[in-house]
Amino acid sequence: MLAFILRRLAQAVIVMLTVGIVAFFLFRYIGDPINAMVGQDTSMEEREQLREKLGLNDSAPVQFLRFIGNAVQGKFGLSYRTSEPVGRLILERVPATLELAFCAALFILVVGVPMGVYTGLYPRHWSSRLLQTVSLIGVSLPPFLIGILLILVFAVTLHWLPSFGRGQTVDLGWWTTNFLTWKGLQALILPSITLGLFQLTLIMRLVRSEMLEVMRTDYIKFARARGLTNRAVNFGHALKNTLVPVITVAGLQLGTLIAFAIVTETVFAWPGVGQLFIQSVQFADIPVMAAYLLLIGLLFVVINLAVDLLYFAVDPRLRNQVGSAREAH
């Protein structure tokens, strides 16, 4: 178990170094950072001095190591656009994105999993067929369209919910939250649905097919033959056996939600990291882009590690595989 975690951590370090290389080359080779930093009337000499001062004349490996060293300490330099430290710029916006992604994930799990269970248990029922068909729409509509449609219906026509921004937030010093005010919660609803709808249909379809599979197994038939209640059979035995693939996909989805909140944040003018990234791309603000890349890389690595650990919690066959498997009889 410990060996497994250490091995996974080593792999995570390799992945992060690779992402670091990509981020570094972004810095190094997409345009000349000096050009972005100085005005047009700066002389060649001044440019050269600045280049020397920033260490841009050192060899690539030295620069890379310096970049990694700084990145580990959370130093990503100054934004070309606002001249603020990139680390602070991103940290300010992380809460907005994480809260949005959290709400979307909650929406997916609370609605998608039960829908998947239901359609898996009663595949022939008309309501299952209806859900299956409706879920096709969720898969085929692009998020920006869903967002705009939701705004049209619930904000413009019905005036029920706000169409942009985070609404009212509470500043906790290191974190700004939407969860403590009614307005903040209202502002979360439409973006969360927009962000989650596509993934919701995916998780519903995954749970459904896994349930169909598990319901055919002998241990489910035997559980019925033991006279267990439907609830115990369906949720205690069947659903738990679908969890390993579902956790895998849900973990990847959470990463995707955060990484690709960009579209939703743009549609709803949500002041999150994704929106920051879009602005940075428009200004070729490479330090921010590089930091964003590293952040997302880190996020996926952490989520994958968490997913691997969850496998152990769910499936006893993965625990003590080395030790006591198949004791003598």
Binding site: T217, D218, Y219, K221, F222, A223, R224, A225, R226, G227, L228, T229, N230, A232, G236, H237, K240, N241, V314, D315, P316, R317, S324, A325, R326, E327, H329
Partner: protein, 340 residues
């Protein structure tokens, strides 16, 4: 041991028909099957795969897989009709009054729960016991089915047990609410030969102690001969012969049973060669008119081609064969013409 007439049977199956509606018409998988099981009796049900023996068992525990369904007939347990119970009522019968054992112990247990947990949940579903009492009962059961070191093994997961040990756990699960009948569907088929005998002996011993009746479905005549009180031989969805196991083994009345017995090698008797029944069991879509066995039968007559025999008395057994009717099988048929 035949059913004593003064004792009401534990299980009565009357004219049971199991159908599978398919796109190309309805398949009759179990056709007009009737039998009784007395309290504490072991009834062996034997036949080739597809003969309908497992479906009969599934119909009794109310777990026919859709689209299969009971089309006619009735099943009574302790006098109470159970084939038409609503799902929730039947659920309370399963596990509590009728236990079940399936073929493959490797897949019968949920891999994600410890065997103790699976026992406790079954016990608590049917008996009003506290968690601690249920666990104590689970532990006793594991000891009873011969799991060494039951105190520690109770918290182990199915993958930590061998096949034979898992089947013991399955037996403990089938017995844990004290059922009156156990439907055991090929309980030893998936096991090593050396383990088979142990499991059969265990099942037989436990059921005798608890006065539990067993419907033992198998294609292994040896297991039946060793374990059962009576035996029903099934062929193409019908019972071909039913009677006390000794008589059926020693003096088979139906040509199919004779063929089955002839195909078992026995120690001590020198066989020049084992007999073999020519041909295969007909598919459910192609059951011939008259006696379903007639294309393979060596003793058939013209009557077998047109009239279907019901079970009729033949010595101490009953057999579905015109040989035991006063009218006989009718005119003999020349073999070549039938083969053409």
């Amino acid at each position: 041991m035949a059913t004593p007439s003064n004792n009401p049977p534990l299980l009565e199956v009357k004219n049971l028909r199991v159908e599978f509606p398919t796109r190309r018409g309805t398949l009759l998988a179990v056709d007009d099957v009737s039998f009784d099981i007395a309290p504490g009796e072991v009834l062996g049900v034997v036949g080739e795969s597809g003969a309908g023996k497992s479906l009969t068992g599934n119909a009794i525990i109310g777990l026919l897989e859709p689209p299969g369904r009971i089309a006619a007939g009735e099943i009574r347990l302790e006098g109470r009709r159970i084939d038409n119970l609503p799902y929730e009522e039947m659920r309370k019968v399963r596990g509590a009054r009728i236990g079940a054992i399936f073929q493959d112990p490797l897949t019968s247990l949920n891999p994600l729960y410890s065997v103790g947990r699976q026992l406790v949940e079954t016990i608590q579903t049917h008996l009003p016991l506290s968690a601690a009492d249920a666990r104590r009962r689970a532990l006793d059961l594991l000891k009873e089915v011969g799991i060494p070191g039951a105190e520690t093994r109770i918290d182990h997961y199915p993958h930590q047990f061998s096949g034979g040990m898992r089947q013991r756990v399955v037996i403990a699960l089938a017995l844990c609410a004290g059922p009156r009948l156990i439907v055991a569907d090929e309980p030893t088929t998936a096991l090593d030969v050396s383990i088979q005998a142990q499991i059969i002996a265990l099942l037989k011993g436990l059921c005798r102690e608890h006065a539990t009746a067993v419907m033992l479905v198998t294609h292994d005549m040896g297991v039946i001969a060793e374990t059962a009180d009576r035996v029903a031989v099934m062929y193409a969805g019908r019972i071909a012969e039913i009677g006390p196991v000794r008589d059926v083994v020693k003096q088979a009345r139906h040509p199919y049973t004779k063929g089955l017995m002839g195909s078992i090698p026995s120690l001590g008797v020198r066989h020049d060669r084992l007999t073999q029944i020519d041909g295969t069991m007909p598919r459910l879509t192609e059951i011939p008119p008259g006696c379903a066995f007639n294309p393979r039968c060596t003793e058939r007559g013209s009557r077998c081609l047109s009239e279907r025999p019901e079970l009729m008395s033949a010595g101490t057994s009953r057999a579905a064969c015109w040989l035991h009717d006063r009218g006989g099988v009718g005119a003999p048929i020349v073999r070549e013409t039938a083969d053409a």
